[in-house]
């Protein structure tokens, strides 16, 4: 691995410190508090979905032949590197299953005589549940490996065939992910309240994933730019990223109201219980409303004008709010069924810090400064435009050296 100069020694120590704080705080709260496993599930899903959203970002661009994002593609590709790490982390839920999941403590019991729970009990049995989890995670990791390998091999040999391969792998990933992630959301989050069901739930998670990962990519690109990397990323790219964050935030709101509205209309007790728990106490009602504002209202209004998408401070703020929104969204999905009122405990702070440290650490390890631009990608020229291409050439030795390793 080439030497990494993206962060200096102090910053690296800060990241390691955050990681250590997470581990220490985690171990301390594991012994003493019920919150640990819930917080662990929330945070591991938060960062796993951000990393998976980065794969979606790359896959969408590959499948739709989009050229503009090629110059910043290595950022989402480095974020993908977190998926295997996050997958191993998520598998640790195995040890907390009896705290988290009612069905892991014994077969579910029907409250009414006419309810048949045999299928639900078979589906939500511990061995089958964790087998599925391993299969989903392994499928994602495998496809991510293939997508990344094609991208990096093109850097070496410059073969256009790799672009076609990447497109094929991305198509497969999108189909596989659409199905498995939906099922995974049902498993990992919806089964916390095993009697509640909503068929749009997986889609809702995908919407949150897309928004938050686009926001994370934007933040990381801006931070890299501030450090002098990726000078080729210009106003055009920032404008596009801003549009994507804003568009997906609106998509999230669309799915949010779609889920809420149908449950509100139909008024069936086993469905409304989900919203009842989240709106019946003042504390959770506040979270419910704030969640809507953080995920859609504020980012949407902030990113509406054209010029602000090219203003890095403004974009950092809007994307940061969207990220906090996704964190709170997961919080509001996981916690209300088990805790009477919202609060932030030691476990939440420690685990959030720890996961931030872990995510950034893995990201920095995966980001190779020497290969920050996919040099042999056929879409690079389109992505850079005239001025950007000139800049890229002048940074390297000579135009002729551009195609060499």
């Amino acid at each position: 691995m080439a030497k990494n100069v993206i962060i200096n020694g102090l910053e690296r120590n800060v990241l390691v410190g955050m990681l250590a704080a997470g581990v220490i705080g985690g171990i301390a709260t594991l012994m003493s508090s019920d919150r640990f496993w819930f917080s662990f599930l929330q945070n591991s899903l938060f960062f796993l979905t951000i990393a998976l959203g980065a794969v979606l970002f790359v896959a969408f661009k590959a499948v739709s032949n989009a050229g503009w994002s090629t110059v910043l593609r290595r950022v989402p590709e480095a974020m993908m590197g977190y998926v295997p790490v996050g997958a191993v982390g998520l598998l640790m839920v195995f040890f907390g299953r009896s705290t988290l999941y009612e069905w892991a403590r014994g077969p579910l019991v029907a409250h009414g005589p006419e309810v048949d729970l045999s299928f639900k009990n078979a589906w939500l049995s511990t061995p089958f549940f964790f087998t599925r989890m391993v299969i989903y995670l392994a499928l994602w990791c495998g496809l991510i490996y293939l997508i990344k390998r094609a991208s990096f091999q093109q850097d070496v040999d410059g073969n256009v065939e790799h672009t076609r391969k990447r497109k094929i792998y991305s198509s497969i990933f999108l189909v596989v992910f659409g199905i498995t992630f939906s099922l995974a959301s049902f498993d990992w989050i919806m089964s916390l309240e095993p009697m509640f069901y909503s068929t749009i739930f997986g889609f809702y998670m995908i919407a949150g994933t897309l928004t938050s990962s686009a926001a994370a990519i934007t933040i990381l690109v801006i931070l890299l730019k501030k450090r002098g990397f990726l000078p080729e990323v210009g106003d055009k790219h920032m404008h596009m990223l801003g549009q994507i964050v804003m568009g997906f935030a609106t998509f999230w709101a669309y799915i949010w109201i779609s889920q809420y509205l149908l449950i509100y209309y139909a008024n069936l007790p086993e469905e409304t219980i989900y919203y009842y728990r989240r709106t019946s106490t003042n504390g959770w009602m506040t979270v419910f409303i704030v969640n809507l504002f953080l995920n859609w209202v504020i980012p949407f209004v902030m990113l509406l004008p054209r010029q602000v998408k090219m203003n890095s401070t403004w974009m950092l703020t809007a994307c940061g709010i969207a990220l906090v929104g996704h964190w709170l969204d997961l919080y509001a999905m996981i916690f209300p069924a088990f805790f009477g009122s919202p609060m932030i405990g030691v476990a939440d702070v420690a685990l959030t810090l720890g996961f931030i440290g872990l995510f950034l650490f893995v990201f920095v390890r995966n980001l190779n400064v020497e290969k920050l631009i996919p040099r042999n990608d056929p879409y690079l020229e389109e992505s850079l435009g005239r001025e950007g291409l000139h800049l890229a050439y002048s940074q390297k030795a000579a135009p002729g050296a551009f195609n060499e390793v």
């Binding site: 055009k236 669309y254 109201i257 509205l261 509100y264 209309y265 008024n267 004008p305 005239r386």
Partner: protein
Amino acid sequence: MRATEPSEKTVRYAAAFFDNEMDLMAIAAEARLRGFEIQDVFTPYPVHGMDRAVGLGRSRLGWIAFVAGVLGLISAIILQVWTSAYDWPLNVGGKPFNSFPLFVPVMFELTVLFSGLISIGVLFMLNRLWIFSKKEIFERVTDDRFVLVLKQADASFDNEKADRLFRKYNAIKVVEGDRFV
């Protein structure tokens, strides 16, 4: 991409034809630097950055779309609250008459509808493309030609200089005329 003022409906012009957008974008920028006045440019498809190359200011269409969207949103709220809670309250599934979540889809739809239709209408009006208006267009400009139209407003227009500029950017042909409408 019309930059004309209403009072300047007819003007002498020199139109140069190019076969790619890069040449057109570059010559537009250079022509402005050299003091030529650009009447208009024509491309078969939208070209990003062309507005900046031609020196157009920011389009006001965004504001119009925004105002139209807000108008649609307000009309949707008034329409639904008034009809379902005041003018003719109906009991639908035991919901309150004034149930906000049910109004959201129509609020969304009317916002998009107003915003879309009004922007399209205003766009055509600003470009003076009324229903029965007749426009002559340059040959192949909707197919594979990129056209730059320079104003030849008065004697200060330097034909030789213009010619050199056209040749520098590989103009395929140049057409002159005295009525650009």
